[in-house]
């Protein structure tokens, strides 16, 4: 038992072994491997349709891999539903923002605490002391988190009324409110202008330095990747074609071919 907990403690935050995903006859991802230790910031890039979001969908439990294994903090996630995977310490954002638009910003954060409510339906109906305590605590923590990110003035707004950049930020904050060990950011800079991108880079770096979290992100903006990621993995048509530092990846011939095509056409 002791050895087991020790093993889990030392286990990498994320470990993916030989993961393959097939949709019917299409192999979206083949033989994908990665190990992310704690407090790392990694990137995943590739041309459109390379299978990047598929990787994130697999890690967050939205799909079950056809082959291979995913372990989060040492726990295999095979057969777990997404909310159970989230409970293991994974949180993510989406390529196209998926906030709950008819719910206030505060409620968006509150609902994200659903996994650790700690009260039952009947306690909610009867308003037991325990329930009231938990609700107060959830609200307080949500406000605190919002104020850390300077969003508390929007607490009662609907997310649709926020500017696009703030919606992106709110989605990241919502993911962080899960207190994840692994934060997956799926194209956080998509649709942002250059000023907002700089803002985002600062935000992600600040999150990385402040919270005890491993960040893995998909991004098309190379400047974001260069600034932030220690290690980048490049995939194309589901195959890993290169991995290494940003500088190495940028000059890798296979990557240039994948993005720009062969020069002897």
């Amino acid at each position: 038992m002791m050895a087991d907990t020790m093993k889990k403690k030392d286990a990498p935050v994320l470990e993916i072994c030989n993961m393959t995903q097939k949709f019917g006859g299409l192999t979206a991802l083949s033989d994908f491997n990665i190990t992310l230790g704690s407090k790392t910031m990694a990137g995943l890039i590739g041309p459109n349709g390379a299978g990047k979001t598929t990787v994130f969908n697999l890690v967050s439990g939205f799909y079950q891999p056809t082959q291979g294994q995913i372990r989060i903090g040492g726990c295999p996630t095979a057969g777990l539903k997404p909310h159970k995977v989230t409970a293991l310490g994974v949180a993510r954002t989406f390529q196209n923002i998926r906030l709950w638009n008819q719910m206030s910003v505060l409620d968006n954060i509150r609902v994200a605490q659903h996994g650790k409510l700690g009260y039952s339906f009947f306690q909610a109906i009867l308003r037991t002391d325990h329930y009231c305590e938990r609700e107060e605590q959830i609200k307080k923590e949500a406000y605190e988190l919002l104020s850390v990110f300077d969003l508390e003035k929007y607490a009662n707004e609907f997310p649709t009324n926020l500017p696009y950049g703030l919606q992106r930020k709110l989605e990241i904050v919502r993911a962080l409110s899960e207190k994840p060990k692994l934060l997956l950011l799926d194209e956080p800079a998509a649709g942002l202008n250059s000023v907002d991108v700089q803002e985002l880079i600062r935000l992600v770096r600040w999150i990385f330095e402040t919270f005890d979290v491993t960040i893995w992100m998909i991004e098309h903006h190379m400047d974001v990747m260069m600034e932030l990621c220690d290690e980048i993995k490049v995939i194309d048509f589901g195959q890993t074609i290169a991995e290494g530092s940003a500088e190495y990846v940028r000059n890798h011939p296979a990557v240039i071919t994948a993005y720009l095509g062969d020069d002897n056409l």
Binding site: H83, A91, F94, M103, V111, G115, F121
Partner: protein
């Protein structure tokens, strides 16, 4: 400084106070026979309709599913409560002598109604379990199927009257009146109506209940953001159908007679009309439209069958000019924020 506690007490208990006065007032008037039996029955149907529309609003409004089988669960509640009541407290040609003394009926009545509600909640699993994998139009079809399953099952159960229906509930009500002479049905309809709105209000304002709206707005995001969607769906469907079962039980005891035909798809549609008229996901809208709809039905009664031309026409007009319903998805307190100063109904 001295004013504050009085004000906060006033704020905290204003709704309770109004409800007690209202309930006691109606009961007193009914006891004195100051209001006629007809008006009284309209008031009681109003209560039943409020329970039905608010509980359906939980599924159709808050969760964004399209349930068209609400009357089916009402039917389960009506039959279970009726059979239990007659079996225990009334002499009947099917069940013979009552198992318990009819004098006890007055104490056990709420439990009988709640038993009907619990049975209906379990019948709700008929929809809740398929909802894990299905949603939208396909789930709507399943709810219609569930309604038909329940109706045909009861139609074919000869032991409880089949399609001829089941009666004897009046004897139970009379047994209650023999012990304490009060308008018991009025009292219980009132209490259960308040109980329903109160439960739903608490459910909707809890973080747990907000998960229901999260599923409505983006189920994928809800599942990823740690909402156990299957659990939330099960509880929501069971709560909704359980409350419909309570409405059914009360309905059966008000009329004194149930038959499967009165819980068909038309009844479900009627409840749906109330929800859409009031506004999706608005609890106060559902209450108001249930009251409005009951009165409208009674006012149009002289038109007889033409009534069912007028009412759908009203729906068409509302959908044309105010597709979000009377209240939209807002509550009364969102429209009149000052009301929040006066009441806290939690």
């Amino acid at each position: 400084m001295r004013k504050t506690p009085v004000k906060s007490i006033l704020q905290r208990y204003s709704v309770h106070f109004i409800l007690v006065v209202l309930g006691a007032g109606i009961t007193y008037l009914a006891y004195q026979e100051a209001i006629g039996l007809y008006v009284l029955s309209v008031l009681m149907f109003m209560g039943v309709n409020i329970i039905l529309s608010t509980s359906l609003n939980l599924v159709n409004g808050n969760m964004g599913e399209f349930s068209c089988g609400h009357a089916g669960f009402m039917c389960v509640g009506a039959y279970v409560a009726s059979i239990l009541g007659v079996l225990l407290f009334a002499k009947d040609k099917i069940f013979g002598v009552p198992l318990l003394s009819p004098d006890l009926a007055v104490y056990c009545f709420p439990f009988i109604i709640i038993a009907g509600g619990i049975a209906a909640a379990f019948a709700g699993l008929l929809v809740a379990l398929p909802s894990y994998k299905t949603r939208g139009d396909y789930l709507a079809i399943i709810t219609i199927a569930a309604n038909y399953i329940i109706i045909s099952l009861i139609e074919n159960l000869g032991a409880i009257g089949g399609s001829r229906g089941f009666m004897g509930m009046k004897k139970v009500v009379n047994a209650m009146n023999d012990v304490v002479d009060l308008p018991w049905m009025v009292i219980w309809v009132f209490i259960f109506t308040v109980f329903t709105v109160w439960i739903l209000r608490r459910y909707n304002s809890s973080t747990f209940g907000k998960g229901v709206s999260a599923i409505c707005q983006d189920e994928v995001a809800a599942e990823i953001m740690s909402v156990d969607t299957n659990k939330v769906k099960t509880i929501t469907f069971m709560l909704s159908s359980g409350l419909a079962g309570i409405a059914g039980g009360l309905f059966a005891y008000i009329i004194g007679y149930v038959n499967p035909g009165s819980f068909n798809i038309l009844k479900s549609t009627e409840v749906m009309v109330m929800v859409y008229l009031g506004g999706m996901a608005s609890l106060s809208g559902a209450v108001m439209s249930a009251i409005f709809f009951t009165i409208l039905l009674e006012l149009l009664r002289p038109l007889q069958i033409i009534k069912w031309v007028i009412i759908p026409l009203v729906l068409i007009i509302v959908m044309q000019f105010r597709p979000e319903g009377i209240m939209g998805n807002r509550e009364l307190s969102d429209i009149f924020p000052k009301l929040k100063r006066f009441y806290r109904f939690k």
